[in-house]
Amino acid sequence: MNGPQDVGGRHGVGAVVPEDEAVRFHADWEKRVLGLTLACGALGHWTLDTSRHARESLPPAVYYNASYYEIWLRALEHLLEAAQEIKPDELTNGHAIHPPRRPDRRLTTEAVPDVLARGGPTERTGPKPAFAIGERVRTRNHQPAGHTRLPGYARGAAGVVEAVHGAHVFPDTNAHGDGEHPQPLYTIRFEATELYGDGADPTLSVSIEAWESYLERA
Protein backbone atom coordinates (compact mmCIF):
# COMPACT_ATOMS: atom_id res chain seq x y z
CA MET A 1 0.00 0.00 0.00
CA ASN A 2 1.06 3.57 -0.57
CA GLY A 3 1.11 4.08 3.19
CA PRO A 4 3.29 6.01 5.61
CA GLN A 5 5.78 3.14 5.89
CA ASP A 6 7.02 3.50 2.32
CA VAL A 7 9.66 6.17 2.95
CA GLY A 8 12.60 4.99 0.81
CA GLY A 9 14.08 7.88 -1.18
CA ARG A 10 11.94 10.62 0.41
CA HIS A 11 13.39 14.07 1.01
CA GLY A 12 13.15 16.36 4.01
CA VAL A 13 13.20 13.75 6.74
CA GLY A 14 16.02 15.21 8.81
CA ALA A 15 19.24 13.88 10.24
CA VAL A 16 20.10 10.39 11.41
CA VAL A 17 21.02 10.40 15.09
CA PRO A 18 23.59 7.73 16.01
CA GLU A 19 23.27 5.96 19.32
CA ASP A 20 25.57 3.98 21.61
CA GLU A 21 25.18 0.26 21.05
CA ALA A 22 24.73 -0.37 24.78
CA VAL A 23 21.32 1.34 24.60
CA ARG A 24 18.62 -1.30 24.22
CA PHE A 25 15.45 0.59 25.18
CA HIS A 26 14.49 4.17 25.99
CA ALA A 27 11.73 3.41 28.50
CA ASP A 28 10.46 0.40 30.37
CA TRP A 29 7.15 0.47 28.51
CA GLU A 30 9.06 -0.22 25.29
CA LYS A 31 10.30 -3.50 26.78
CA ARG A 32 6.77 -4.54 27.65
CA VAL A 33 5.57 -3.71 24.10
CA LEU A 34 8.30 -5.90 22.62
CA GLY A 35 7.45 -8.77 24.96
CA LEU A 36 3.69 -8.42 24.57
CA THR A 37 3.92 -8.27 20.78
CA LEU A 38 5.94 -11.48 20.59
CA ALA A 39 3.86 -13.22 23.27
CA CYS A 40 0.59 -12.34 21.52
CA GLY A 41 1.98 -13.60 18.22
CA ALA A 42 2.00 -17.07 19.79
CA LEU A 43 -1.81 -16.95 20.01
CA GLY A 44 -1.75 -17.68 16.29
CA HIS A 45 -4.36 -15.16 15.18
CA TRP A 46 -2.10 -13.39 12.69
CA THR A 47 1.09 -13.72 10.64
CA LEU A 48 4.18 -11.52 10.55
CA ASP A 49 2.85 -10.05 7.30
CA THR A 50 -0.49 -9.23 8.94
CA SER A 51 1.27 -7.44 11.77
CA ARG A 52 3.37 -5.40 9.34
CA HIS A 53 0.19 -4.43 7.51
CA ALA A 54 -1.42 -3.37 10.80
CA ARG A 55 1.51 -1.01 11.43
CA GLU A 56 1.53 0.54 7.96
CA SER A 57 -2.27 0.97 8.14
CA LEU A 58 -1.97 3.53 10.93
CA PRO A 59 -2.92 7.02 9.70
CA PRO A 60 0.19 8.79 8.36
CA ALA A 61 0.00 11.58 10.95
CA VAL A 62 -0.08 8.98 13.74
CA TYR A 63 2.67 6.87 12.18
CA TYR A 64 5.11 9.76 11.75
CA ASN A 65 4.50 11.13 15.23
CA ALA A 66 4.99 7.81 16.98
CA SER A 67 8.17 6.09 18.10
CA TYR A 68 8.59 2.64 16.63
CA TYR A 69 7.44 0.87 19.80
CA GLU A 70 4.35 3.09 19.88
CA ILE A 71 3.64 1.98 16.31
CA TRP A 72 3.97 -1.61 17.51
CA LEU A 73 1.64 -0.97 20.45
CA ARG A 74 -1.08 0.66 18.37
CA ALA A 75 -0.87 -2.13 15.79
CA LEU A 76 -1.03 -4.76 18.54
CA GLU A 77 -4.18 -3.20 19.95
CA HIS A 78 -5.75 -3.27 16.48
CA LEU A 79 -4.70 -6.87 15.87
CA LEU A 80 -6.11 -8.04 19.21
CA GLU A 81 -9.38 -6.22 18.56
CA ALA A 82 -9.63 -7.69 15.05
CA ALA A 83 -9.02 -11.14 16.56
CA GLN A 84 -11.80 -10.40 19.08
CA GLU A 85 -9.46 -11.06 21.98
CA ILE A 86 -9.97 -7.60 23.48
CA LYS A 87 -12.52 -4.80 23.12
CA PRO A 88 -12.04 -1.04 23.48
CA ASP A 89 -14.03 -0.90 26.75
CA GLU A 90 -11.45 -3.20 28.32
CA LEU A 91 -8.55 -0.93 27.36
CA THR A 92 -10.49 2.05 28.72
CA ASN A 93 -11.15 0.29 32.01
CA GLY A 94 -7.76 -1.38 32.22
CA HIS A 95 -9.38 -4.67 33.19
CA ALA A 96 -10.83 -7.74 31.51
CA ILE A 97 -14.59 -7.61 30.89
CA HIS A 98 -15.22 -10.13 28.10
CA PRO A 99 -14.10 -13.78 27.83
CA PRO A 100 -10.91 -14.58 25.87
CA ARG A 101 -10.85 -16.81 22.77
CA ARG A 102 -7.53 -18.63 22.85
CA PRO A 103 -6.15 -18.75 26.41
CA ASP A 104 -5.14 -22.33 25.61
CA ARG A 105 -2.51 -20.88 23.25
CA ARG A 106 -0.91 -18.66 25.91
CA LEU A 107 2.89 -18.59 25.54
CA THR A 108 4.50 -20.18 28.60
CA THR A 109 7.80 -19.05 30.04
CA GLU A 110 9.25 -22.49 29.39
CA ALA A 111 8.37 -22.26 25.68
CA VAL A 112 10.00 -18.85 25.12
CA PRO A 113 13.52 -20.09 24.25
CA ASP A 114 12.17 -22.61 21.73
CA VAL A 115 9.78 -20.14 20.11
CA LEU A 116 12.52 -17.53 19.68
CA ALA A 117 15.04 -20.13 18.47
CA ARG A 118 12.60 -21.55 15.93
CA GLY A 119 11.58 -18.21 14.46
CA GLY A 120 9.39 -18.22 11.39
CA PRO A 121 11.19 -19.45 8.27
CA THR A 122 9.37 -18.36 5.10
CA GLU A 123 11.00 -20.62 2.50
CA ARG A 124 8.60 -23.19 1.03
CA THR A 125 8.48 -25.64 -1.81
CA GLY A 126 7.10 -23.71 -4.76
CA PRO A 127 7.38 -22.92 -8.45
CA LYS A 128 10.76 -22.98 -10.17
CA PRO A 129 12.23 -19.52 -10.84
CA ALA A 130 11.47 -17.96 -14.23
CA PHE A 131 14.46 -15.61 -14.08
CA ALA A 132 18.16 -16.45 -13.83
CA ILE A 133 21.06 -14.71 -12.15
CA GLY A 134 22.39 -11.95 -14.40
CA GLU A 135 19.10 -11.49 -16.25
CA ARG A 136 17.70 -7.99 -16.82
CA VAL A 137 14.25 -7.48 -15.31
CA ARG A 138 11.89 -4.59 -14.64
CA THR A 139 9.66 -4.15 -11.61
CA ARG A 140 6.00 -3.80 -12.44
CA ASN A 141 3.93 -0.74 -11.61
CA HIS A 142 2.47 -2.74 -8.73
CA GLN A 143 0.67 -0.60 -6.17
CA PRO A 144 -2.14 -2.50 -4.47
CA ALA A 145 -4.23 -0.88 -1.75
CA GLY A 146 -3.33 -3.82 0.49
CA HIS A 147 0.02 -5.05 1.72
CA THR A 148 3.01 -5.30 -0.59
CA ARG A 149 6.76 -5.38 -0.15
CA LEU A 150 7.63 -3.62 -3.41
CA PRO A 151 8.76 -0.17 -2.28
CA GLY A 152 7.58 2.84 -4.28
CA TYR A 153 11.08 4.07 -5.14
CA ALA A 154 11.79 0.78 -6.94
CA ARG A 155 8.61 0.53 -9.04
CA GLY A 156 8.91 0.40 -12.83
CA ALA A 157 12.70 0.23 -12.56
CA ALA A 158 15.09 -1.92 -14.58
CA GLY A 159 17.67 -3.97 -12.72
CA VAL A 160 19.63 -7.19 -12.69
CA VAL A 161 18.87 -10.46 -10.90
CA GLU A 162 21.70 -10.90 -8.44
CA ALA A 163 20.45 -13.85 -6.35
CA VAL A 164 17.64 -16.41 -6.38
CA HIS A 165 16.45 -17.43 -2.92
CA GLY A 166 14.00 -20.25 -3.58
CA ALA A 167 10.25 -19.86 -3.08
CA HIS A 168 9.04 -17.75 -0.15
CA VAL A 169 5.65 -16.97 1.36
CA PHE A 170 4.02 -14.16 -0.65
CA PRO A 171 3.29 -11.24 1.73
CA ASP A 172 0.68 -9.60 -0.52
CA THR A 173 -1.72 -12.50 0.09
CA ASN A 174 -0.46 -13.81 3.42
CA ALA A 175 -0.97 -10.43 5.13
CA HIS A 176 -4.68 -10.63 4.38
CA GLY A 177 -5.31 -14.23 5.40
CA ASP A 178 -5.48 -15.25 1.74
CA GLY A 179 -2.83 -17.97 1.95
CA GLU A 180 0.93 -18.27 1.58
CA HIS A 181 1.10 -18.79 -2.21
CA PRO A 182 4.92 -19.15 -2.27
CA GLN A 183 6.74 -17.53 -5.19
CA PRO A 184 10.38 -17.45 -6.26
CA LEU A 185 12.18 -14.63 -4.46
CA TYR A 186 15.05 -12.68 -6.02
CA THR A 187 17.57 -10.04 -5.08
CA ILE A 188 17.36 -7.35 -7.77
CA ARG A 189 20.11 -4.74 -8.05
CA PHE A 190 19.41 -1.28 -9.48
CA GLU A 191 21.76 1.56 -10.29
CA ALA A 192 20.83 4.71 -8.36
CA THR A 193 20.65 6.63 -11.64
CA GLU A 194 17.82 4.28 -12.73
CA LEU A 195 15.91 4.89 -9.49
CA TYR A 196 16.44 8.61 -9.00
CA GLY A 197 17.45 10.03 -12.37
CA ASP A 198 19.76 13.00 -12.85
CA GLY A 199 21.80 13.89 -9.83
CA ALA A 200 21.81 10.39 -8.37
CA ASP A 201 25.05 9.17 -6.79
CA PRO A 202 26.85 7.43 -9.70
CA THR A 203 28.74 5.17 -7.29
CA LEU A 204 25.55 3.85 -5.66
CA SER A 205 23.57 0.73 -6.38
CA VAL A 206 20.59 -0.47 -4.34
CA SER A 207 18.97 -3.87 -4.14
CA ILE A 208 15.60 -5.10 -2.97
CA GLU A 209 14.17 -8.57 -2.57
CA ALA A 210 11.35 -9.04 -5.08
CA TRP A 211 8.83 -11.84 -5.47
CA GLU A 212 8.44 -13.10 -9.03
CA SER A 213 5.05 -11.50 -9.64
CA TYR A 214 6.61 -8.08 -8.97
CA LEU A 215 8.84 -8.57 -12.02
CA GLU A 216 8.78 -8.75 -15.80
CA ARG A 217 11.51 -9.21 -18.39
CA ALA A 218 13.25 -5.95 -19.25
Partner: protein
Protein backbone atom coordinates in the same frame (compact mmCIF):
# COMPACT_ATOMS: atom_id res chain seq x y z
CA UNK B 1 9.76 -4.94 35.96
CA UNK B 2 7.85 -1.67 35.88
CA UNK B 3 10.43 0.69 37.34
CA UNK B 4 9.96 4.26 36.21
CA UNK B 5 13.41 5.78 36.50
CA UNK B 6 14.46 8.70 34.33
CA UNK B 7 11.16 9.06 32.50
CA UNK B 8 9.08 11.80 33.99
CA UNK B 9 7.58 13.61 31.02
CA UNK B 10 3.83 13.43 30.46
CA UNK B 11 3.96 11.58 27.15
CA UNK B 12 5.99 8.79 28.70
CA UNK B 13 3.54 8.52 31.56
CA UNK B 14 0.67 8.19 29.11
CA UNK B 15 2.48 5.45 27.22
CA UNK B 16 3.32 3.61 30.41
CA UNK B 17 -0.34 3.72 31.44
CA UNK B 18 -1.51 2.57 28.03
CA UNK B 19 0.84 -0.39 27.94
CA UNK B 20 0.00 -1.37 31.51
CA UNK B 21 -3.70 -1.33 30.70
CA UNK B 22 -3.16 -3.67 27.76
CA UNK B 23 -0.89 -6.02 29.69
CA UNK B 24 -3.32 -6.12 32.63
CA UNK B 25 -6.27 -6.98 30.38
CA UNK B 26 -4.28 -9.70 28.57
CA UNK B 27 -2.98 -11.15 31.83
CA UNK B 28 -6.42 -11.22 33.47
CA UNK B 29 -7.77 -13.00 30.41
CA UNK B 30 -5.05 -15.62 30.56
CA UNK B 31 -3.76 -14.65 27.12
CA UNK B 32 -0.33 -13.51 28.31
CA UNK B 33 1.91 -14.68 31.14
CA UNK B 34 3.93 -11.67 32.41
CA UNK B 35 6.79 -14.04 33.26
CA UNK B 36 6.97 -15.09 29.60
CA UNK B 37 7.08 -11.40 28.64
CA UNK B 38 9.94 -10.97 31.12
CA UNK B 39 11.77 -13.90 29.53
CA UNK B 40 11.45 -12.36 26.05
CA UNK B 41 12.75 -9.03 27.32
CA UNK B 42 15.65 -10.71 29.13
CA UNK B 43 16.61 -12.51 25.92
CA UNK B 44 16.98 -9.31 23.90
CA UNK B 45 18.16 -7.04 26.70
CA UNK B 46 20.85 -9.32 28.11
CA UNK B 47 21.55 -12.34 25.90
CA UNK B 48 21.16 -11.59 22.20
CA UNK B 49 23.03 -8.56 20.90
CA UNK B 50 25.75 -7.28 18.58
CA UNK B 51 28.54 -9.13 20.38
CA UNK B 52 27.18 -12.23 18.63
CA UNK B 53 27.75 -10.67 15.23
CA UNK B 54 31.18 -9.44 16.31
CA UNK B 55 32.16 -13.03 17.10
CA UNK B 56 31.04 -14.07 13.61
CA UNK B 57 33.11 -11.30 12.00
CA UNK B 58 36.20 -12.07 14.09
CA UNK B 59 35.96 -15.73 13.11
CA UNK B 60 35.64 -14.75 9.43
CA UNK B 61 38.73 -12.53 9.72
CA UNK B 62 40.85 -15.30 11.20
CA UNK B 63 39.53 -18.47 9.53
CA UNK B 64 39.42 -18.42 5.70
CA UNK B 65 37.40 -21.64 5.60
CA UNK B 66 34.78 -20.12 7.87
CA UNK B 67 34.75 -16.95 5.74
CA UNK B 68 34.14 -19.07 2.66
CA UNK B 69 31.28 -20.91 4.41
CA UNK B 70 29.83 -17.58 5.57
CA UNK B 71 29.85 -16.36 1.98
CA UNK B 72 28.16 -19.50 0.67
CA UNK B 73 25.69 -20.33 3.45
CA UNK B 74 25.59 -17.64 6.11
CA UNK B 75 22.62 -19.16 7.94
CA UNK B 76 24.50 -22.43 8.57
CA UNK B 77 27.88 -20.81 9.25
CA UNK B 78 26.37 -18.42 11.80
CA UNK B 79 24.31 -21.21 13.39
CA UNK B 80 27.55 -23.17 13.91
CA UNK B 81 28.55 -20.47 16.41
CA UNK B 82 25.22 -20.84 18.21
CA UNK B 83 23.33 -17.90 16.71
CA UNK B 84 20.03 -18.59 14.98
CA UNK B 85 16.29 -18.07 15.26
CA UNK B 86 13.74 -15.31 15.00
CA UNK B 87 14.60 -12.64 12.40
CA UNK B 88 17.69 -14.57 11.32
CA UNK B 89 16.06 -17.49 9.57
CA UNK B 90 17.60 -16.68 6.17
CA UNK B 91 20.99 -14.97 6.56
CA UNK B 92 23.32 -13.49 3.94
CA UNK B 93 26.77 -12.07 4.79
CA UNK B 94 28.17 -9.29 2.60
CA UNK B 95 31.86 -8.42 2.71
CA UNK B 96 33.26 -4.91 2.50
CA UNK B 97 36.31 -4.37 0.31
CA UNK B 98 38.35 -1.27 -0.59
CA UNK B 99 36.28 -1.13 -3.81
CA UNK B 100 32.78 -1.70 -2.40
CA UNK B 101 31.08 -0.75 0.85
CA UNK B 102 27.83 -2.43 1.93
CA UNK B 103 25.00 -0.82 3.91
CA UNK B 104 21.82 -2.48 5.18
CA UNK B 105 18.42 -0.84 5.59
CA UNK B 106 14.74 -1.76 5.72
CA UNK B 107 12.86 1.08 4.06
CA UNK B 108 9.41 -0.44 4.69
CA UNK B 109 9.69 -1.31 8.39
CA UNK B 110 12.55 -2.40 10.64
CA UNK B 111 13.81 -5.78 9.38
CA UNK B 112 17.12 -6.53 11.10
CA UNK B 113 19.18 -9.66 11.86
CA UNK B 114 18.24 -10.18 15.52
CA UNK B 115 20.30 -13.32 16.29
CA UNK B 116 23.56 -11.57 15.39
CA UNK B 117 22.82 -7.90 16.15
CA UNK B 118 19.97 -7.98 18.68
CA UNK B 119 17.23 -5.37 18.46
CA UNK B 120 17.68 -2.52 15.98
CA UNK B 121 18.74 0.89 17.31
CA UNK B 122 16.20 3.72 17.15
CA UNK B 123 17.91 5.40 14.21
CA UNK B 124 17.67 2.22 12.11
CA UNK B 125 13.87 2.37 12.50
CA UNK B 126 13.61 6.12 11.89
CA UNK B 127 12.12 7.57 8.70
CA UNK B 128 15.31 9.62 8.35
CA UNK B 129 17.56 6.57 7.98
CA UNK B 130 15.05 4.53 6.00
CA UNK B 131 14.42 7.35 3.53
CA UNK B 132 18.01 8.48 3.02
CA UNK B 133 20.10 5.30 3.20
CA UNK B 134 18.84 4.22 -0.23
CA UNK B 135 19.37 7.62 -1.87
CA UNK B 136 22.21 9.52 -0.20
CA UNK B 137 24.18 7.00 1.85
CA UNK B 138 27.34 9.12 1.80
CA UNK B 139 25.51 11.92 3.59
CA UNK B 140 24.15 9.40 6.10
CA UNK B 141 27.63 7.98 6.66
CA UNK B 142 28.93 11.50 7.30
CA UNK B 143 26.46 11.75 10.19
CA UNK B 144 28.18 8.68 11.64
CA UNK B 145 31.57 10.33 11.11
CA UNK B 146 32.44 8.01 8.24
CA UNK B 147 33.92 9.26 4.98
CA UNK B 148 34.70 6.83 2.16
CA UNK B 149 36.96 7.46 -0.85
CA UNK B 150 35.02 8.97 -3.76
CA UNK B 151 35.75 6.00 -5.99
CA UNK B 152 34.46 3.41 -3.51
CA UNK B 153 31.22 1.95 -4.78
CA UNK B 154 28.35 1.85 -2.31
CA UNK B 155 25.97 -1.07 -2.29
CA UNK B 156 22.76 -0.70 -0.24
CA UNK B 157 20.67 -3.76 0.64
CA UNK B 158 17.00 -2.94 1.31
CA UNK B 159 15.63 -5.87 3.34
CA UNK B 160 12.19 -6.11 1.77
CA UNK B 161 11.71 -9.86 2.42
CA UNK B 162 12.86 -12.28 5.13
CA UNK B 163 16.49 -12.35 3.98
CA UNK B 164 18.64 -10.71 6.68
CA UNK B 165 22.04 -9.16 6.02
CA UNK B 166 25.21 -9.02 8.10
CA UNK B 167 27.97 -6.70 6.87
CA UNK B 168 31.48 -8.05 7.41
CA UNK B 169 33.62 -4.92 7.74
CA UNK B 170 37.19 -4.79 6.49
CA UNK B 171 39.76 -5.99 8.98
CA UNK B 172 41.70 -2.96 10.22
CA UNK B 173 45.42 -2.62 9.59
CA UNK B 174 47.77 -3.39 12.45
CA UNK B 175 45.75 -6.34 13.76
CA UNK B 176 47.99 -9.22 12.65
CA UNK B 177 48.30 -11.85 15.32
CA UNK B 178 45.48 -10.49 17.47
CA UNK B 179 43.25 -13.07 19.17
CA UNK B 180 39.65 -13.63 18.06
CA UNK B 181 38.18 -12.03 21.20
CA UNK B 182 40.48 -9.01 20.82
CA UNK B 183 39.44 -8.67 17.18
CA UNK B 184 35.75 -9.00 18.08
CA UNK B 185 36.16 -6.00 20.40
CA UNK B 186 37.02 -3.91 17.31
CA UNK B 187 33.76 -4.84 15.56
CA UNK B 188 31.07 -2.28 16.34
CA UNK B 189 27.36 -2.81 15.79
CA UNK B 190 27.29 0.07 13.32
CA UNK B 191 30.11 -1.49 11.28
CA UNK B 192 27.97 -4.63 10.85
CA UNK B 193 25.09 -2.51 9.47
CA UNK B 194 27.52 -0.65 7.22
CA UNK B 195 27.23 2.68 9.02
CA UNK B 196 30.64 2.43 10.61
CA UNK B 197 34.07 0.91 10.16
CA UNK B 198 35.75 -1.56 12.46
CA UNK B 199 37.85 0.22 15.07
CA UNK B 200 41.62 0.35 14.88
CA UNK B 201 43.48 -1.15 17.85
CA UNK B 202 44.45 2.39 18.89
CA UNK B 203 40.80 3.56 18.87
CA UNK B 204 39.38 0.55 20.71
Amino acid sequence: MHDDHDHADNEMDAMTARVRALETVLTEKGLVDPAAVDAIIDTYENRVGPRNGAAVVARAWTDPEFAKWLRQDATAAIASLGFSGRQGEHMVAVFNTPKEHNIVVCTLCSCYPWPVLGLPPSWYKSPAYRARAVREPRAVLAEFGVSLPEETRIRVWDSTAEIRYLVVPERPAGTDGMSEPALAALVTRDSMIGCGLALTPEAA
